[in-house]
Amino acid sequence: MEKQLHISGAEAIIHCLLAEGVDLIYGYPGGAIMPVYDELYKFQDRLTHILTRHEQGATHAAQGYARVSGKVGVAIATSGPGATNLVTGLADAQIDSTPMICITGQVGRHLLGTDAFQETDIIGISTPVTKWNYQITKASEIPEVLAKAFYIAKSGRPGPVLIDITKNAQFDMLDFHYQPCHHIRSYKPVPTASESSLKAAAQLINTAKKPFIVFGQGVILSEAETIFKAFVEKTGIPAAWTILGLSALETEHPLNVGMVGMHGNYGPNMLTNECDVLIAVGMRFDDRVTGNLATYAKQAKVIHLDIDPAEIDKNVKTTVAVLGDAKASLSALLPLLEARTHTSWLSEFKVYDRQEYEAVIEGDLYPTKPGLTMGEVIKILNQKTANKAVIVTDVGQHQMIACRYAKFTQTKSNITSGGLGTMGFALPAAIGAKMGAPEREVVAIIGDGGYQMTIQELGTIFQNNTAVKILVLNNGHLGMVRQWQELFFESRYASTIMSNPDFVRIAAAYDIEAARVSERSTLDAAIEEMIAHKGPYFLEVCVENEHNVFPMIPTGASVSEIRLK
C-alpha cells in the first residue's frame, strides 16, 4: 500500500474499509454522514451498502454478519438520533464479544459543544458499551484511527468500536496512506498461558474422577472447535455448553451432554454440583449459567481457560487459571493429558436425561394435547434442514426452546442475543447472517413480541431479496415474562398479552411469501414449504399460548435446585 492518494476524509474512510477487506456494510444516511454516503455511491461496485430501516437494525445485521463469518461487522449512521440508535447493538456486541465497528457522522468541529442540530455526545454515551471509541476531528487522523479500530475490534476478546467523525474531517483533504495496525503499546490482547498453569490444569484433569467441561463462545471466537473436540474425546469428559457456545461441538456428539443454565438440561445443571473438576473453556460464568454463586460447584476444583484476565475469579473462584486464546491453550494442554474414559460418570448424566425426557422433553416434542408446542416446531425444522441451518433467535421462550432442541452439525450456527437479551435482535441479525453465509440456510426464529420490535427490517429483506426464512412462534404473549408472572407473581399478567396484527398480510405487503399454520396436521408440510422456498419466506406458527419453558432454575436458586415443572 505504498500508493499515495490526496483524497477527502470521506473517501479515505472507504479506502480504509476496503483495505481491511470489508465488502459489505449496513447503515442509514443522514446529514452529518452525507460525505461518506456520497463516496459509497461512487464505490458501490466494490463496497455494498445495505440500507436497513433503522440504525439498530444496522448494528444487529452487522452482528449477525460477524457472528456467522468471523469477520468484523460494520455499521454506519449519522449523528444525533442516528448515533443513539446504535447503542443497543453496541451494548449487545460488547457483552457478547462480537467484533463490530460503528462509524458515526458528527457535526463539524467548530460546532462541537454548541448544541448544534443533531449533535449528541455519542462518545460519552457509547463509552461504557464499547471496547474502544474515538472522535476524529481532523481528516489526517482517519487512516491510523480506523486501522486501530479494526485491530481492536477483532483482536483478543473481540468487541465493538465506535468511531465518531466530524463533518469537516469528512470533507477535508489528506494524503492517504494506509497501514494496518498490529500493535498498541498499552494493549496486550492475548495473554500467554504459563507453563505452570498448563501443568497444574493437566494434573487436575488427569486425576479427576468426575470432571465436567462447560464451554462457551471462546471456543468459536478462537476457532478452536477441532482442537476442542480432540480435547473432549481424548479426555472422555462430558461437555456442556452455554447458549453462546452452542454449535461449537455438534449436538449429537456422545460427549455433548447439553446446555447449562436457567433453562438448560437437567443433568448438566444437577451434576455441576457433583463434579470434582470443572473445566470452563471460553465462558464467563454469567448469572444465568450459575444461578446462586454461593452454591455453585463449591465442591469442585475449577480450571478456567479464558482470554480475558478480568474474567478470572470475577464470579467463580478458580483453582487454576489458564490465560490465553482457547485454541492456543488447548493445543498446549492436549499433549499433557492422558487418554481416559469416564463411563460411569457419563451414565449419571443419562439418568437425569431420562427424567428430563419423561417430565419435559417428550411433552415438548411429541405433544398429545391439541395446541402446538414450540418444541415440535423445532423438531420438524431440524428434520427439514438436516441439522445444517444457521438458527438466529430473538429473546424469550422461543429462544430457550430453540437452544434446547435445535440440532447443529456446524460451528457458528447459533446466532442469538445472549448476555444483553435484546428483543428485536433476530430479524436484522438474520439478514446479516444470510449475507455473511449466503450458501447456508438461515432461519430466524422469533416470538411475536420481539418480531414487532424490528419488524420494519422486512423492508430490508424485500429490497435486497434476502433469502432468510422467518419463523414466528406466535403465542399471543410476551411469553417468558408471562411465565414468570404465572410462577412468581400469582398469574397477574401485567402487560404481557399481545393483540397482534395479521403478520401474514404484513409480510405479503412486502411481497414476501407467507403462510400461517395452527394445526399439527399441516405443520410438517408448512415447514417443508418454507425451507424449500428459494427466496425470503415468512411462516407464522400459532402455538400454545400459556406453555412454560422447563426445566428452570428460579432466580437466586442453586443449579441443583432446577425444577422440572
Binding site: I123, G124, T127, P128, N133, Q135, S186, Y187, K188, E311
Partner: protein, 174 residues
C-alpha cells in the same frame, strides 16, 4: 467482606475521554470515588490517575481488571493505606485582620506545620499538606475564626514497593 481504603494507581496514555471511561467503571458498580487526582507520571507522555475508594478487596480486584482492560491503560495497581506514602494538599483563605486580632492563629499555623502562602490587606492564604486527618484537624481549629474559602486536593500517593512501569512499557514495545 470488610470495606477498607484503597488507593488505585492507573498508568495510561494521555487521551481525551479516558477519564470518562475509567470513572464509568466505578459508576457501573455503584462505587463512589472518594478522591481523584490526574497528573503526569515519572514517565514521559504517561499519565497517572490516583483514585481513592472505600470498598472491599473483591471489588478492587474486579475494578482493576476492568480498568486494565481499557485499551489506553498501561497498568493498574492497588494499595492499602499501609502500603503507600500519601498526602493531600489544602488551601485556607482567612480574613487578614484575624492574623493580628487573634494571636492564637499564628500558633495554630506554627503547630500544624502549615505555611502562609500570601498575605494581602483583606485576606491571607494558608497551605497545608499532609494526611487527611491533619488537614481536618487544622480545619477544625480554624473554623471558629471563620474560613472564607477552603479547598483540598485529591490524594497523591507513591507506593512503598516498586511499580514496574518502565520495564513493562519496554516489554510492550518489543
Amino acid at each position: 467482606m470488610e470495606n477498607a481504603w484503597y488507593t488505585i494507581s492507573v498508568y495510561s496514555e494521555n487521551n481525551v475521554g479516558l477519564l470518562n471511561r475509567i470513572s464509568g467503571i466505578f459508576l457501573k458498580r455503584h462505587i463512589n470515588i472518594e478522591s481523584l487526582n490526574v497528573s503526569k507520571s515519572e514517565i514521559d507522555n504517561v499519565s497517572k490517575f490516583t483514585i481513592v475508594v472505600f470498598t472491599t478487596s473483591k471489588w478492587v480486584q474486579n475494578i482493576i481488571g476492568q480498568i486494565e482492560k481499557q485499551i489506553e491503560v498501561i497498568k493498574v495497581f492497588s494499595h492499602t493505606d499501609e502500603e503507600t506514602i500519601y498526602q493531600e494538599s489544602a488551601l485556607f483563605k482567612v480574613a487578614s485582620n484575624l492574623l493580628f486580632d487573634e494571636r492564637q492563629i499564628q500558633n495554630i499555623i506554627k503547630d500544624s506545620n502549615a505555611q502562609i502562602v500570601t498575605v494581602s490587606r483583606e485576606f491571607f492564604v494558608i497551605s497545608k499538606s499532609g494526611r487527611r486527618s491533619e488537614v481536618d484537624a487544622l480545619y477544625e481549629e480554624l473554623k471558629p475564626f471563620g474560613i472564607m474559602q477552603f479547598v483540598r486536593s485529591g490524594r497523591i500517593a507513591v507506593s512503598k514497593s516498586e511499580m514496574q512501569i518502565s520495564s513493562l512499557l519496554h516489554n510492550f514495545q518489543s
